[in-house]
Symmetry: C2
Subunit: 447 residues, 2 copies
Amino acid sequence: MSCNDTHKTRFVLEEKDMPTAWYNVQADMPEMPPYLDGAGEPARPEQLAAIFPPALIEQEMTKERYIDIPGAVLDILRTFRPSPLTRARMFEQALGLPDNVKIYYKYEGINASGSHKANSAIPQAYYNKQAGITKLTTETGAGQWGSALSMAGSQLGMDIEVFMVGVSYDQKPYRRIFMENYGAKVHRSPTNLTNVGRAVLETDPDTPGTLGLAISEAVEIAATNPDTNYSLGSVLNHVILHQTLIGQEAILQMELAEAEPDIVIGCCGGGSNFSGLAFPYYKRRLDGKSKARLLAAEPKSCPTLTGGEYRYDYGDEAKMTPQMMMYTLGHDFVPPGIHAGGLRYHGDSPLLSALVHSGDIEATAVYQTDCFKYALMFSRAEAMLPAPESSHAIAAAVQEARAAAEEGRDCTILFGLSGHGFFDLAAYDAYNQGKLQDFDFKTGTTR
Amino acid sequence: MSCNDTHKTRFVLEEKDMPTAWYNVQADMPEMPPYLDGAGEPARPEQLAAIFPPALIEQEMTKERYIDIPGAVLDILRTFRPSPLTRARMFEQALGLPDNVKIYYKYEGINASGSHKANSAIPQAYYNKQAGITKLTTETGAGQWGSALSMAGSQLGMDIEVFMVGVSYDQKPYRRIFMENYGAKVHRSPTNLTNVGRAVLETDPDTPGTLGLAISEAVEIAATNPDTNYSLGSVLNHVILHQTLIGQEAILQMELAEAEPDIVIGCCGGGSNFSGLAFPYYKRRLDGKSKARLLAAEPKSCPTLTGGEYRYDYGDEAKMTPQMMMYTLGHDFVPPGIHAGGLRYHGDSPLLSALVHSGDIEATAVYQTDCFKYALMFSRAEAMLPAPESSHAIAAAVQEARAAAEEGRDCTILFGLSGHGFFDLAAYDAYNQGKLQDFDFKTGTTR
């Protein structure tokens, strides 16, 4: 492999090339079904004001196509953006792909918190601070979102209180310490600090906790303290909005690479990483500049888009949030114990759900052992160790690349590598030792 | 803080701007005292051939000023280089520094292995493969070097066998798994695989191991197997040589920043990170383009340059290596148990030692609790969590910045942030819980 320009592997943008506005997909799709309040009526903005600041409620509802990013937010984002986009030449070789099947990836794990979650944590902390809020509560499962919000809190001078799902708290002490290093207060959820938590502990004192329950606790604290708001790392429209820098940058970088993707792939739990990469390509398709298929990759053990129902459901276990129209496995869904990665939320972004429902966006589900297998192959070729979450995109990319190779099709694949796996080595160890099994939610079978 | 060009924080070089030759400081300093063999005679190149390939022995001895980097090595280095150089604006604010005291840092933790060690691991694996070697042995303590060589082995198709200091093996399972993910074989040292290891285990079966002993085991395996060589992550001239990309890039980036450092600081164990940053500035000083002081920062509990003797000593505990003229605490030195970071090698690079001895380069020693304190302050301001090793440079930079501020001096500081601390969270937890003490080797006092 020589090193002239036609063989470039890394497509670097400068600070000044970072987009200065977020792309709002609501401008380019049909009217969304409204959120519903406890009475089943369309939720009014003021009902959200107990836990969200005005600017984020506005971003949740607006149909403006581009929303300018505040200068102070740009300043912080530019300390780690634009993020790199790389041609995965060594991974292509390891897979034995022909020359006309190419794989590119956009890597979001460069920032100190290690995943794309930082892209929304920083503006959320900023807008809350602007609104006079001094503390944010949130939940975290695998730990990426809690880490990102803790980092944002330390940089913007906000107190952060994280309700960490009990089983993760026990299994991932490094994630807890990492958040504490940024000054965050981390609780093992459920706690005795909330009505919701106390009620659960009373009937089931040894519960390992769930993500839906940790959300309920964080929302309860925010709703009952005037100086405290709640912050969510995925699902909601304003979170998706903040992630659209990923796709906007990717478009510029693929132009530098003189390549146009035939398919854009991202891993998908609540939808923030996938949508952040894919929605700007959805727009590009509307503009007639792209014909890319957009493919969300989710776990077979928690297959919201491919195995859930499209209906109204709550965002949390205790039904404290509004109901949203989305693909859901039910707000009391708990993924099986053998599921090792993240992406375990029961629902999905309403925006993404609507675009999947309309057929504009595709979804696929992959087995976790395939994810770990291709994550390790990727890591040995390209060096970076993917988060188990991100590896769902890799497994789907391999599937697409091999299909194209078999059919003799030209195919340019772009996938999102949403974060690194440095805090997930226990799961890799379990895989290396042959201890991981696969579960298919739709068929109820284990293999 | 606004975002125009005069307020740029990140100084990005493109792939094409990466230097294509290493800088060899031996061209610009007096004749080095020779390595000595077991008989006390100057070691001949062929004596090194049992464990090193010809190209690296040549690099160990040559006085050529610039050594071209092979194209295949450039191709891999360019997947993660040039590394970023950043103005630490938020850290400056957190320290309350005046406008005329500025701090820049060059960050080497972006690559997948997480530290500067990758810069030498890749060429070492390459030259060994070129020489027909199929396996490399090495030792690792804190784990950065073992991780880097494991990554290089996976990318270049070499088997890697790592002797990991027993106590680290027990305390850092994530490091072990991380190396295994790249396909490396990791042993808890001492082992029953070597004469050296068996002898120690016979008299002391519960030994926690030492770095010097792990080196001896790795050297023994390499010396007794023709298809196997040994690879060292610091100290030797060719390792220092490979690290000089750091300083060469930093010079270009500081020019982009329109700033010239008054002082260049790096953490220092065996000397590879510090020398890689500082030696190109030593050259720049000889060329009359810089007046920078060059300052190596080491632990007070293991203060080789500031507390050791400048004399001949062995590189390993079992005296299997040649003797080298260097600052040393004695080849049987073991750092105290309360020392939490890396930088625990008993000796120091002969090249760096000579330049410290001649007064061209300065050294200082810092307490570990100061390192953790300023590492956390840095992390909360700049977001990235430093490795405990790297934090020695931060503590020294703070000292210099505050002295300049107090004296009202203009001062531009450049320090090397050699790697991230994502695998070192147990040490941070110990610090957060007030469990870390300081030890001063020179006075023998604990605080």
